[in-house]
């Protein structure tokens, strides 16, 4: 479903990704591990279309379509979801109205009518409960003054609401305590199915103990240096990257 071919990316004239190749099949969970500065987050941002991440050469196909020619919002509407490492604050915008608006943007692209307020509230309650999110969080402004854990849960909630086919998680585990990690991982596991693929970017084994990956890739200097199954993650955890 996702094919990355010979991808070269520069950020501020510095080459970060070098001839990256990666194939991700339907329903697969791929973990990407690697030391700081190895280019892990750059993959996430490039796939999502962040400005200033310049693709010098290479190709990316998502569900058979050229991903790189699309605007960031089109990539989202086509099923790509990026859970941010540092979710952004939107002062003055209440979380509930924001969530409803992004849900409606996706409905509109499927030529569906905007969601009814009552129905939305029902869905929001259900999905918030799964993540242990109190409803009063939705009357606060998006991510503003949220704790690290609340921000990450809010990302997973959006992931759940938008029903994406490819989920990229950029260090979703950072900032979560043990209980929150478990709740969040449980919610993510519920999203796993045969159609949906995941790229999990992480430094640590602990998230992968909850969400079991099919493949683990080790990243260094902008490309994959080793690929294995979940035992590779345990080895790195014990031995480090070198």
């Amino acid at each position: 479903m996702l094919e990355i071919k010979n991808l070269n990316v520069t950020v501020e004239e510095k080459q970060i990704l070098k001839n990256l190749n990666l194939n991700i099949g339907k329903g697969e969970v791929h973990a990407i591990m690697g030391p700081n500065g190895s280019g892990k987050s750059t993959i996430a941002h490039t796939l999502a279309g962040k400005p200033n991440y310049n693709v010098e050469s290479g190709a990316v196909n998502l569900n058979g379509e050229d991903l790189l020619s699309k605007d960031p919002y089109e990539r989202s509407l086509n099923g790509l979801f990026l859970a941010f490492q540092y979710p952004i604050e939107l002062p003055g915008v209440t979380n509930a109205s924001y969530l409803k608006q992004i849900v409606n943007a996706h409905r509109k692209s499927r030529k569906e009518t905007p969601i009814d307020a009552g129905e939305f509230l029902k869905i929001l309650k259900e999905k918030s409960k799964l993540l242990d999110i109190p409803m009063d969080m939705h009357s606060r402004f998006v991510n503003a003054g949220f704790s690290g854990g609340e921000k990450k849960k809010n990302e997973v909630l959006q992931m759940d609401l938008l029903n994406p086919s490819l989920i990229i998680m950029d260090e979703t585990d950072s900032g979560l305590d043990v209980d929150a990690l478990k709740t969040t991982a449980d919610a993510i596991n519920k999203l796993r199915n045969d159609e949906r693929s995941f790229i999990i970017i992480t430094h640590y084994l602990r998230l992968l103990e909850y969400i079991e990956p099919d493949y683990v890739h080790v990243f260094q200097n902008g490309s994959v240096i080793e690929t294995g199954d979940k035992t590779l993650a345990s080895r790195i955890d014990q031995e480090g990257y070198s």
Binding site: Y73, I88, G92
Partner: protein
């Protein structure tokens, strides 16, 4: 980063830019005693009103246009303007809507202001001013039953001279400054509101100003009096056709609140702002002032300023009554080459007077947006309090935002709190929203509406949604 191009929307951006093809009757161009006499005659005014106008005109001869605003204003040739324009054969205001020219009804229908009573917004009475005349006022009789007077000021001058005489010019002195004096000499129409003692006006009252004729200035005059213990919420809206020339709208609005009375005055100003190269647009030079005359009175200004080539206005409160309150909530948006110099004056004269200023300025394109404010505590203003918050949001890197808050304090028991922020819509915020499926314009509008939410919430509910849309439309084309 996004494919939204400027061409996508410029055509539909200002949807009120049409011209009503209606024959108009103008009095000759120019500013002189004869013109003033003619206006007064057209309005069938009593002698005292004409005298008042002429004395203003005499003063005007020694005055010059004020220059304090941070705006580049082309010199206006005041002799090259029409000061009065009305639809042809408009001798007297139609007594009922059936007598109103269908073209006019259609115009207001197109502007989203249906005047036929079965179609109007429930709970909103409208006075429709077209160029220099009021063409229709809805719910007049119904309001009359409870003693509320809501009519064009030209009608009030004839029917309620004692009220007009007593209050006109009592808040904005005839000699205040050039445009206020000019308005006093040549004003044509506007609304008059009187709320009797103890009456809470059950409807929103609103005036819709439309400039249609070319080369014509609109000189609106509005006077609102809330008698003891009364309440009124009033809203004005404004639009004009798209024209290459700059047109002048110089209004005087006076509010008077007596003991325990409250006036809430909201403006959604959407004059034609000029095109994306800064050609054309309305010069909006407006003097708005409220007098909290009685104890415990309250005047609250809310303004959403999106239009005009140049906006120059400072809705102010004179807090004379003890324990009176003044409020100013403002969103001013400038895009392309628009210039706005707006803010408020809170003059604290009485004891325990309070004022609150929340100003949100949003600048985009190559525009310039200035908040100019004055908070003044006089000697007798014991325990007076002010809170001021001025936030500026910049969209892009070619626009300007200025904040000029002045304070004068002669009272030693008073307090002033002032907060100011300047921020930019960050690329991070836009990218975050776009990653969730919003296109660039939707993302920007979400963030901007969040920024001005505090003010938008102050608008009467019927208009809050419209205003929200207007905020988004005004910034179209400023992303990417």
């Amino acid at each position: 980063m996004n494919k939204v191009s400027k061409d996508n929307f410029t055509q539909e951006k200002y949807k009120y830019g049409f011209v009503t093809e209606i024959e108009s009757e103008k009095i000759p161009k120019g500013l002189n005693e004869d013109v003033i006499k003619l206006i007064s005659k057209k309005k069938n005014e009593p002698e005292w009103m004409l005298e008042w106008r002429l004395s203003a005109f005499k003063r005007l001869e020694n005055m010059s246009v004020p220059k304090w605003a941070k705006a580049e204003i082309d010199e206006i040739d005041f002799q090259d303007l029409y000061y009065y324009s009305s639809p042809k054969d408009f001798k007297e205001k139609p007594k009922s809507l059936d007598e109103v020219d269908p073209k006019l009804l259609e115009t207001y229908e197109k502007l989203g202001i249906p005047l036929k009573e079965q179609k109007v917004l429930a709970g909103v009475a409208v006075d429709a001013v077209f160029d220099s005349v009021s063409v229709a006022t809805t719910f007049k009789e119904k309001l009359n039953e409870i003693g509320v007077i809501f009519c064009p000021i030209s009608e009030a001058i004839q029917k309620h001279p004692e009220l007009v005489k007593k209050y006109i010019g009592s808040v904005i002195p005839v000699t205040d400054h050039f445009y206020a004096t000019l308005n006093s000499a040549v004003f044509s129409d506007g609304s008059f509101v009187y709320i009797p003692k103890g009456v809470k006006c059950p409807m929103e009252l609103s005036t819709y100003f439309r400039i249609n004729a070319s080369e014509t200035g609109q000189f609106e005059r509005t006077l609102i009096i809330a008698d003891e213990g009364s309440y009124v919420s009033y809203l004005e809206g404004c639009t004009a056709p798209m024209r290459d020339e700059n047109q002048l709208h110089a209004a005087n609005v006076e509010l008077v609140a007596l003991d325990d009375a409250e006036i809430k005055y909201s403006t959604v100003q959407n004059w034609y702002p000029g095109d994306e190269n800064g050609k054309g647009g309305i010069y909006n030079f407006v003097t708005k002032r409220g007098l909290c005359k009685g104890k415990n009175s309250k005047i609250s200004w809310t303004q959403i300023e999106t239009g005009s080539a140049i906006t120059w206005k400072y809705p102010s409160c004179i807090l004379r009554g003890d324990n009176s309150t003044g409020e100013f909530y403002s969103v001013a948006i400038t895009n392309n080459y628009q210039q706005a110099d707006t803010g408020t004056k809170m003059i604290h004269l009485g004891k325990n007077t309070k004022s609150r200023i929340i100003s949100k300025g949003i600048s985009a394109g190559k525009s310039s947006n200035t908040y100019r404010g004055l908070v003044s505590f006089h000697k007798k203003a014991k325990n007076a309090k002010n809170f001021t918050q001025c936030d500026s949001l910049l969209v892009g890197s070619e626009c300007k935002a200025n904040t000029i808050p002045l304070t004068e304090n002669s009272s030693n028991s008073s307090s002033i709190e002032h907060e100011a922020t300047t921020s930019k819509i960050s690329d991070e915020q836009l990218f975050y929203c776009m990653q969730r499926g919003l296109d660039a314009e939707e993302a920007q509008s979400l963030i901007v509406n969040g920024f001005c939410k505090e003010v938008l919430q102050k608008l009467p509910m019927e208009f809050a949604v419209e205003a929200q849309k207007l905020v988004s439309i005004s910034l179209e084309g400023s992303v990417g």
